[in-house]
Symmetry: C2
Subunit: 279 residues, 2 copies
Amino acid sequence: MRTVAIVGVGLVGASFGLAIREAGFAGEIIGVSSSDALSAARKLGAISGSATLDEACRRADLIYLSQPVDRILSTISRLGPLAAAGTLVTDAGSTKLTIVRKAAECLRHTEFIGGHPMAGKEKSGAEEADANLFRGRPYILTPSSGPPSPHAASFRGLLECIGANIVELDAQEHDRVVAFTSHLPQLVSTALASTLAHQKNNHLERIFGPGLLDMTRLALSSEALWASILAENREAALRALDAFEEQLHRARQAVATNNLADLFSSGESFASTIRKLTR
Amino acid sequence: MRTVAIVGVGLVGASFGLAIREAGFAGEIIGVSSSDALSAARKLGAISGSATLDEACRRADLIYLSQPVDRILSTISRLGPLAAAGTLVTDAGSTKLTIVRKAAECLRHTEFIGGHPMAGKEKSGAEEADANLFRGRPYILTPSSGPPSPHAASFRGLLECIGANIVELDAQEHDRVVAFTSHLPQLVSTALASTLAHQKNNHLERIFGPGLLDMTRLALSSEALWASILAENREAALRALDAFEEQLHRARQAVATNNLADLFSSGESFASTIRKLTR
């Protein structure tokens, strides 16, 4: 693999460029993005050049789509007639089913592997790029649309070099899982911060411990990004909200009857388990 | 102020001892606690000796109650006949109204100032003590039960030396505020972790980003501690849950109609504000 094109050089795209460069990738890294993003990414060394999508398609072995979900969908439509047969296309979108379906429809002669790095920050933009963003974090890959190819093997090699933990998962199952582990925490954090915002009591802004900072960090995330994610995975997100409402009702009963043991025990058990697994 | 007695040498009590020692307090710091806690605290240098509650009352200028809320209430009952007239009693409990009322009832001849350091960790115990636990964090004080005394002035001086930001607040208003900024985030974190625990899908334990770790950290907190807090501030906690349920309903509507802008904007605004104020 000699040339990588990164389409959408924001936090994830620029971090990917920076990470593969630091891991020793010596080829060309072409950015396709807004001029502001390109200049920030070039300054950091996350890309070595820039191009239009057409030109990038002609030159790249790997096309890495790291735009918001709605933009990834429209880029895939445009790639259909542009991408060469020997190119591997992948994406870093937060939902997978509609993207994989769009790729199956539009990229009939080009290999596609859906991807989702479970890494991020509440801040966005190439300026926030971090070569270690993917390190130790799960990186979901959906099954390849074609037979095993050399480019797919190289791409997986790159992901391993940048410290990502590759997990293969079917697109539909991915979307069900992230509705619980990503969309739900986001909605809960935003709803919590919004609850406090609506109290119109200035003391709430001063009198809190470190827990409230943790619980409201996700509320700083970009609304535009989340609108596009939730539009593509609405049903699963609503089902996760249903399940949460059920536990919230249980929490209310637990407080009302002063019987917290079961609720706290199941919460503590999950919270401990995911910490053991990330160590 | 020459002698401080810390009743309940857990995370907060041992951190208070350690913090005042490191800030230069040269007097005696007596621990009143279980023998395990006393030996851990002594090893860290958080206390210089130990005593029974009776003996501590005879010797201490300041009695610092850092037990769980239910234990603070029963200790205050015991202090009535024990505490000398010139002693200052304060506590570090997470609710204030029932404690301040109990003190008014039982400590007729002893000055009492209710306190609540808005600092903590999800872990407990003297072993977790940290001299910087209070630094930069709000430390609520309820109005003193008596006229301004030299011990009260010394105690405030100690709190300033250990970096706490003193905020004076009436006990009832304190309890209303922390129901939103502390009890609600705790219940939400536990309900979220419990929601994921109930999905019986092993992928949920592996496929997540750093946001889920933040959102479930509080779920590691001690159930016993929270049972005692929520028992004393149940009505305010239930009202906070009501307000949150309203915003959660709004979040559901926002997802269903793909119109997140208002919800995210109020959430983002609160989350940004509290970060500006803590910088």
